[in-house]
C-alpha cells in the first residue's frame, strides 16, 4: 500500500486510536487522556491539510478493501468529502478543548471522551466513504456512538431522549439499509461519482428508483431532522453542551444533510433526479422544514431548544440548495454545510458558557449578559447575525447564493421562503441580542461561578471566539481562493461537468 492509500485510513485512525485507548485508561488519568485527545485532533487537522494540498494538485487518495464479493469498503478523498472532513477536523479540535473545560470534575469523562472520539471517527468515515455501503456502515456507527453521549447524564429525562433518538435513528437506518440493498440488487454496487451513475438505468425501473430515492431521503432525513422526522432533535438537547454543539454542527444532523447531497448529486445525479421528478417534492419538504423550524424556534423559552429548532430550519437550507439544482443554488447549499456548522457551533458554545458560568438557561434570563460576558455574547451576536444572513457574515454568502440560484432556476417561490425564514430568524434572535447588550443585568445571576482572569474559563472562552472570527472570515474572504465558497464552486464544477 502506498501513502496515497494510507492517508484516508490515517485520517480515520487519528480519532479511532485515541478513542479506543481512552476506554482502557483510568478515569483519573486526566493528563494522558487530554494529551491523547488533543494530539489526535491536531494530527487529524495536519493530515487533512496535507490531503487538501494533495487534492488541489490532483493527487488521488483512495483505498478499497473487499468484504464480500459485491461489498467493498472504500474510501476516497474527493472535493466534497474534503470539505466535510476539514469542517469535522477543525471543529473537533475546538469542541474537544471546549469539552475539556466544560466537563471539568464531572463523572464518567473517560466514557465521554472515548465515545466523543468514536463519534468523530464515524463522521470522518462517512465523509470519506466512496460508496453507499461504506457510507451506511459509518452512518450506523454514528448512531451507536452518539447514543452514550446523548444519555451521558443518565437522568430519566436523558434516558428518555436517548430512547427517542434511537427509535428515530435506528428506524431510519433500517429503511436506509433496505433501500441500499434494493438499489444494489437493481444496479449493482453503487459508487459515488460526480454527476451520478444511475442515468443509464432501464426506464422500466424508474418507478422503483423513485421509491428508493424516497426511502433514502427518509433514512437520511431522520438525522437531517426534516419535518416530520425532527421530533428527536429538540429532546436530545438534554445532552451536555459540547455534545449538542458537535451534533448540530458536524456530526449527526450534518451527516444526514451530507447524505442527501451525496444521493442527489453523486448517486442519482442532479439531471437524472429532475428527470425522475423527485427534486420538487424534496425542495418542498426542505421549504416546509425551514419555515416550520423557524416558526417553532420563535416560541421556545429554553435557549438550547430555540437553537435546536433553529438547526432544524438551517440544515434544510442545505437540502433546499441541493434540491433546487442549478450550479449557483448547489454552491449555496454546499457552502452552507460549512457555514452553518461554524455559526451553529458558536451559538452552542455561547449558550453552554451562559449556562455553565451564570446558570442562564432560559431566554428571558439573558438580560444584560453582554455586560457580564462581553466576549461570549459578541461571539453569539456575530453567529446570530450570520444565521439571519446579514453581511458580511458567512450566512449572508450562503443565502445570497441560494437566492440567486433560485432565481436562475426560475423557482421564485424559494426566494419567498428565504425571506420569510430570515424574518423569522430575526424575530427569534434579535430580541436576545438586544436584551443581552442593552437591558440591565439582574441583581444576581441564577447560578454564577466565581470570576477568574477572564469572564469564564479560557477553555470555554476561546473556542467560540475562534469560530466567531471564522464566521466573519468565511464571509469577508469568501472571494479568496482558499475559502469554503471557492471550494464549493470547485465541487459544483465537477458535479455539473458535461
Amino acid at each position: 500500500m502506498t501513502i496515497h492509500q494510507w492517508l484516508p485510513l490515517l485520517v480515520i485512525a487519528s480519532s479511532l486510536i485515541p478513542g479506543s485507548i481512552i476506554f482502557f485508561l483510568g478515569e483519573q488519568q486526566i493528563k494522558l487522556r487530554t494529551a491523547l485527545n488533543l494530539a489526535g485532533a491536531v494530527v487529524k487537522i495536519l493530515l487533512v491539510a496535507f490531503m487538501l494540498w494533495g487534492v488541489s494538485i490532483n493527487q488521488d487518495y483512495q483505498v478499497r478493501y473487499g468484504l464480500v464479493e459485491g461489498l467493498d469498503f472504500a474510501l476516497h478523498a474527493d472535493a466534497l468529502s474534503l470539505l466535510f472532513v476539514s469542517l469535522a477536523a477543525v471543529l473537533w479540535l475546538l469542541t474537544t478543548i471546549y469539552a475539556i473545560g466544560y466537563l471539568e470534575d464531572s463523572p464518567h469523562r473517560r466514557r465521554f471522551f472515548g465515545f466523543f472520539s468514536l463519534c468523530v471517527t464515524a463522521t470522518t468515515g462517512l465523509a470519506l466513504a466512496s460508496n453507499l455501503l461504506t457510507f451506511l456502515i459509518f452512518y450506523e456507527m454514528l448512531t451507536l456512538t452518539t447514543y452514550p453521549l446523548v444519555i451521558h447524564r443518565g437522568t430519566p429525562e436523558s434516558l428518555r431522549a436517548g430512547r427517542l433518538y434511537l427509535l428515530f435513528a435506528l428506524t431510519g437506518g433500517a429503511i436506509l439499509l433496505l433501500a441500499v440493498v434494493w438499489l444494489q440488487t437493481l444496479v449493482g454496487p453503487v459508487e459515488f461519482s460526480a454527476t451520478g451513475s444511475l442515468a443509464q438505468t432501464d426506464p422500466a425501473l424508474y418507478g422503483s428508483l423513485r421509491l428508493i430515492f424516497a426511502m433514502l431521503i427518509v433514512g437520511f432525513g431522520v438525522k437531517a431532522a426534516l419535518v416530520p422526522l425532527h421530533v428527536w432533535l429538540p429532546q436530545a438537547m438534554v445532552a451536555p453542551a459540547p455534545v449538542s454543539a458537535l451534533l448540530h454542527a458536524v456530526a449527526v444532523v450534518k451527516a444526514g444533510a451530507f447524505g442527501i447531497v451525496r444521493i442527489v448529486y453523486d448517486v442519482y445525479g442532479a439531471e437524472f433526479c429532475r428527470q425522475l421528478g423527485v427534486m420538487i417534492p424534496l425542495a418542498l419538504v426542505a421549504a416546509v422544514t425551514i419555515l416550520y423550524g423557524s416558526l417553532r424556534a420563535v416560541y421556545q423559552e429554553d435557549l438550547k431548544r430555540r437553537l435546536a429548532f433553529s438547526t432544524i430550519s438551517q440544515v434544510s437550507y442545505i437540502v433546499l440548495g441541493t434540491a433546487i439544482a442549478g450550479p449557483l443554488a448547489t454552491t449555496g447549499g454546499i457552502v452552507h454545510l460549512v457555514h452553518q456548522g461554524v455559526m451553529k457551533i458558536t451559538l452552542f458554545f455561547a449558550a453552554g458558557n451562559l449556562a455553565e458560568t451564570l446558570g442562564v438557561k432560559k431566554v428571558d434570563q439573558m438580560r444584560g449578559s453582554g455586560r457580564r460576558m462581553p466576549v461570549t455574547m459578541a461571539a453569539f451576536t456575530i453567529a446570530a447575525l450570520g444565521m439571519i444572513g446579514i453581511p458580511p457574515t458567512a450566512g449572508f454568502v450562503s443565502k445570497w447564493y441560494l437566492g440567486i440560484g433560485a432565481a436562475q432556476a426560475d423557482q421564485w417561490w424559494v426566494i419567498g421562503v428565504l425571506v420569510a425564514s430570515s424574518v423569522l430568524n430575526a424575530i427569534y434572535f434579535l430580541p436576545l441580542i438586544y436584551a443581552a447588550w442593552f437591558a440591565s443585568p439582574p441583581d444576581a445571576w441564577p447560578d454564577e461561578r466565581p470570576r477568574g482572569w477572564f469572564e469564564t474559563s479560557p477553555a470555554l472562552l476561546f473556542p467560540p471566539l475562534i469560530t466567531a472570527v471564522l464566521t466573519l472570515l468565511l464571509g469577508v474572504l469568501a472571494g479568496l481562493p482558499i475559502s469554503a465558497l471557492d471550494w464549493a464552486k470547485l465541487i459544483v464544477l465537477q458535479e455539473y461537468a458535461p
Binding site: 468484504l67 464480500v68 473517560r110 452514550p148 443518565g154 434516558l159 433496505l178 440493498v181
Partner: protein
Amino acid sequence: MDAEWAMTGLIMVPLAAAIVVYVTATRFVAAWGVAVAMLQTGLTFSLTRSILQSGPVQVPLGGWEAPLGIPLYADGISALMLIMTTLVGVTSTCYAAAYFSSLQRDPRRSSSQPSIQTFWPLWLILWSALNALFLSADVFNLYVTLELITISAVALIGLAGKAQALVAAIRYLFAALMGSLFYLLGVALLYSTYGTVSWHLLAETVQPDVLTWCAASLMIIGLLLKTALFPLHFWLPAAHANAPAPVSGLLSGLVLKASFFVILRLWFYVFHPVMPASAGWMLSVLGSAAILWGSIQAIRQQRVKLMIAYSTVAQVGYLFLVFGLACEPMGMLAWRGAAYLAFAHASAKAAAFMVAGSLMYMVGSDHLDRWEGIGRREPKLIFTLALAGVSLMGLPPSAGFIAKWLLLNAAIGHGRWEVAAVIVLGGLLAAVYVFRIIGVSLSSAVPMPEVAPVPRMMRWAPLVLAMAVIVGGIVTTEPIRLLEIGAPPIAAREVAP
C-alpha cells in the same frame, strides 16, 4: 496427513482430557481445560489452513473405508463451525476456570454451587462431541454425537443445582430425546432403503419417493426440536437462562448450532433434490415467526438471562430463512449468510451470556431492576454487552451485519419483501431489548450500586469474544472464501448470473 492428525486430535484431545480429569480427580483440573483449549486452537488453525489450501478433506479413521469404517470429512463449513467452537470454547474455558475457582474461594457460595470436578469432564466431552459432529461423514455418527451433546448439555444445566434449573434440564432432556428418536427413526429408514449411512453415498443415491421423504421429514423434525425452532422452542428459555454462568453461552452458542449444522448438511447435501420447495418455505415461515415471537418475548422479560435466551429463539429464526431463500437464483448469498450468522450469533450470544453471568455473580440477581446504574460501576462489561448487541441487531461493523446483509440481499433479490421486512424488523426489535438493558445500566437515578468483586478473567473473556464478532465484520474475505470450499452443489449451481 496433517489434516488427518488435526481432525483426529480435535476429537480425541478433549475426550482423553475428560477421562484423565475424571479418573484422576486432579486438583489442577482448570489447567487441563486451558491446555486442551490451547491445543484445540492450534489444531483448528492447522486444519483450516489445510482446507483453504487443498479443499475438502476426507479421512478414513484407522484406515477403514466406508461403509465399514468411520470416515471423517471436513469442508469449508465444517472448518467455520470448528473455528466457532474453538473461539467460544477457549473463551468459555478461561471464563469457567475463573468462575469456578472464585466460587471455591468464596465460602458463602460454595455450598450451594456445583463441584468444579463435575463441570470439566462434562464440558470436555461436550467439546469433543461437538468437534466430532462437525467432522462426521455419516448420518449415524451424527446421531451418536448429537446424543453425546444432549446428555452432557443436560448434565451441565443440572449443575446449577437449583430446582428451576433441574426442572428446565429435565424438560430439555425429554425434548431432546424425543428429537433424537425421530432422527434415529429416519436414519433407520434410510439405512434399510439405501444400505448406507454415509451422507456422501446417500447424496448420490436418494430417490424422490415416499419413504425417503418420510425419513427426511422425521430426521428434520427431530432436529428442529433440538434446534428450538419456533414453535418447538418451548424448552429453550428456561434451560438456557437457568444454566450456570459459563454454561449458558455454550448452550446458546454451540449446542444449538450443532443440530442446525446437521439440518444444513442433510438439507443441502443429501435431500435437496427430493425436498419440495414448499418445505423450504415452511421452514422460512417458521423462522420468520421465530424472529418476531422471540424478539417480542425478549422485550417482555424482566430477567436479563431470560431476555438473552429469548433472543436466541429469534436469532435461530434467522438461520432458518436460508431454507426458503436458497432454492432460487441468489441461493449462494443466503447460504453464506446463514452459515456466517451461525458463527456471528455463537460468539455474540456467548459473550452476552458471559456478561450476564458476571453481572449476576456481582449483583446476585439478573433481574433488570437490580441492574440499575450497574454500568457506572462496571463499564467494561456493559461495553462488551453493547458490542455483542451490535451484532445481534445486525448493525455494522460486525459479523452479524455481514450475515444479515447477505440474507437481506437474497431476500430482496428474490422479491421476497415479507422476508426482507422481517429481517429488518427483527434487528429493530433486538435494538429494543439490547438498549433496554444498556439504558437501565447507565441510569444515574440511583446511587452507584455496591457489588461483589469478580475475577478479572470474567471481564476479559467476554470482551475478547465480543471483539472477535466486530473483527468478523471487518475481516470477512477469508471466512467467506472458506464457505465456498465444498459449498453444496445446488446452491452453487443457482448463483445469479
